[in-house]
């Protein structure tokens, strides 16, 4: 709680510095930055008064590092796959890795799911909706 209060305050002040240009474009950001900083201090103050000791429980009781990592890795791999490969590897990697985040996931089931979603995605987005995504550069002859 305190962390974010301070974070908000810091953010507010950073915006202030970043936008002290002439009165025109910088005016509102500065005002808002100050308000946000004030609110941050208010929140930090309130939690400091009421909570006392335990202000460190930001991580929930059961941390899900595996789940979190996989959910984050999914879109990241989508970017990597999309940049180097195209739609097919992007979709496949994204779904496959993300589905591994579930504790009950098995390799086989994830593969099937990823393949299925990839197929659906390519048909729907590439052929039906015509999203301009190279659906695999090595397959550009399709």
């Amino acid at each position: 709680m305190v962390f974010l209060g301070l974070g908000a305050a810091l953010e507010g002040s950073r915006y202030e510095i970043g936008t002290l240009q002439q009165m025109g474009p910088g005016f509102l950001p500065v005002v808002l930055g100050v308000i946000l900083a004030g609110l941050g201090i208010l929140i930090a103050g309130a939690s400091a008064i009421s909570a006392g000791g335990h202000d460190e429980e930001i991580i929930p009781d059961r941390p899900e590092w595996r789940g979190w990592a996989c959910v984050v890795a999914g879109p990241a791999l989508f970017i990597v796959g999309g940049y180097y490969g195209g739609l097919i590897p992007a979709a496949f990697l994204c779904v496959f890795v993300a589905s591994l985040g579930d504790r009950t996931a098995t390799l086989g089931r994830s593969l099937v799911l990823a393949a299925g979603v990839t197929l659906l995605g390519v048909v729907l987005f590439y052929y039906v909706l015509g999203v301009p995504f190279p659906s695999g550069r090595w397959m550009s002859g399709w």
Binding site: Y15, P25, E64, A76, C94, F125, L129, V131
Partner: protein, 509 residues
């Protein structure tokens, strides 16, 4: 006035019944219904995923579809609450209290059919309210100058951030944060780069789709991965035969339905109090009014009918400030406004007259959509029930892919996906810290318009802030803001200890 409203409505039906629009309306309610039924899928995430798909559609179809998702999900959410005791959608959390006991008593079918009926009654009233109120409101709002618009937005933002879930101060902080995010990119007046940190892709500002999908897609998945318990499917075999309510149940739920409808439509008019608050208030009222309050919580059909009717009437009523003033009451409405903006339609009081097809078509589609939903839900209840058993481990990876491709197709750039990812991780951190991210979106959508009007007002008054209290309407609105803040502080100081229990009990999650 009634005649012109009817003529307009007739026009609306002719728009909404065009095959193209009808089709998208159907797609919208169907998708909404599915999403509502599936535990762990949010309306906001769905609308944000669908948002990029609307770029290629015409404006009417786009709005019909997105709105359909919103109210369709309300029908689906009720199924989930009653049969599984899972409040996957906050407005239906109260419905669990009496809906699930009814299911365990073998009367789940009855509860469902009463829900459908209540929903339809509530929705119809909400739509009627919109037909008469929205144009009148818009006519008044046409007189507004920049200072009034500015004050109105201020009130909307304040109400939206403080009356929603969670702590008001945190909500406010999130709104301000959203306003700041709305300022990323080139400044309208001067073209100065703000908060872009030299990144080219940020010059056009943050993509609304990326923001919405980050906050309500990725952050939600991170929250619910490995956390959704396997579905208790013991009671879910409901068939159409079980859906016929007997006369006694029907009779008992008529009055609660009407009460719920009225309460819901009132809640819709107060900015910031959406369906969730409406359903809680109406459940509490119904319990108080009832001669047998002890039956509540143990399977009272009134406890299902009243909140459901009020949810639906407020869902429809939510569109009133959005369509007539251009001020969204919550984040779903903010997204629908964004969809309009993308279509090149400027939201505001001039919308009803300038884009009559959008406004009246939308109203007519509400009715069509609600009828479609009743048709979908009654005979197809078996299919929805089956959907309930799809495990989350298949859902979220697929949804994640749709998030990625959705953002990509909105921006045609992989940078957008990265943007979403960063926002998502940040959004999850906020969630863990007890900040609800919905007001961010509200601030983000209203931010640029707020700034524009604020500056215009300052130009008119030559930098004199008193313009806001010298013009009467603006003064009233500012007064309401002050009242709201004063009220919040008062409540805060009063309830320190004794009412803590109440607030814990009343909070939806």
């Amino acid at each position: 006035m009634v005649e012109s409203a009817l003529a307009n409505l007739w026009f609306g039906f002719s728009v909404a019944l065009e095959p193209h629009n009808l089709l998208w309306c159907m797609v919208g309610v169907l998708v909404g219904n599915i999403v509502g039924v599936l535990p762990g899928m949010g309306v906001l995430a769905t609308i944000s995923i669908l948002l990029p798909l609307t770029f290629g559609m015409n404006a009417v179809a786009a709005v019909l579809m997105l709105a359909g998702v919103f109210y369709g999900a309300q029908y689906g959410g009720a199924i989930c609450s009653i049969l599984l005791n899972l409040p996957c959608h906050p407005p239906h959390a109260v419905t669990c209290l009496d809906g699930f006991p009814l299911t365990t008593q073998g009367k789940g079918g009855t509860a469902l059919s009463i829900t459908m009926l209540a929903s339809f009654v509530g929705a119809s009233f909400g739509i009627t309210e919109m037909i008469f109120l929205a144009p009148a409101l818009a006519r008044t709002a046409l007189e507004f100058g920049p200072s009034e618009v500015c004050s109105l937005m201020l009130l909307g933002l304040l109400a939206g951030s403080t009356l929603a879930r969670g702590s008001p101060v945190k909500g406010l902080a999130m709104t301000v944060f959203g306003l700041l995010l709305g300022m990323v990119g080139s400044d309208m007046g001067t073209g100065t780069e703000r908060f872009t940190f030299g990144i080219m892709n940020l010059y056009d500002g943050i993509e609304i789709v990326a923001l919405a999908l980050g906050l309500f897609g990725i952050a939600e998945f991170m929250k619910s991965v490995n956390r959704t318990s396997p579905v208790e499917s013991r009671y879910v075999n409901v068939r159409m035969r079980d859906m016929r309510p007997d006369a006694a149940d029907l009779k008992r739920s008529i009055l609660p339905m009407i009460r719920g409808t009225l309460l819901g439509s009132l809640c819709a008019l107060v900015p910031g109090t959406g369906p969730t608050i409406a359903s809680f208030v109406s459940y509490a009222t119904e319990k108080k009014v009832s001669r047998t309050p002890e039956r509540f919580g143990g399977g009272a059909i009134e406890g299902v009918a009243c909140p459901e009717a009020s949810t639906h009437s407020s869902v429809q009523g939510d569109f009133i400030p959005t369509m007539s003033l251009g001020i969204p009451g919550d984040s779903v409405m903010a997204l629908i406004l964004a969809a309009l903006t993308i279509q090149g339609i400027v939201p505001g009081p001039q919308l009803i007259s300038q884009h009559a097809d959008v406004f009246w078509g939308l109203i007519a589609s509400f009715w069509i959509g609600n009828i479609l939903l009743v048709i979908f839900n009654v005979p197809l209840i078996g299919i929805w029930v089956k959907l309930l058993t799809i495990p989350y481990r298949y859902l979220y990876p697929s949804a994640l892919f749709f998030v990625c491709i959705g953002v990509y197709s909105a921006t045609n750039d992989l940078f957008g996906v990265g943007e979403t990812l960063v926002i998502g991780v940040f959004g999850y951190a906020l969630l863990l810290l007890g900040f609800h991210p919905a007001p961010v979106l509200l601030g983000f959508v209203l931010g640029p318009r707020f700034e524009e009007n604020f500056r215009r007002a300052m130009l008119i008054s030559r930098g004199d802030l008193r313009i806001f209290i010298e013009r009467p309407i603006s003064a009233v609105l500012i007064g309401l803001c002050v009242l709201l803040i004063a009220g919040l502080i008062y409540v805060r100081l009063r309830r320190k200890r004794p009412a803590m229990r109440l607030s814990v009990r009343m909070s939806p999650d």
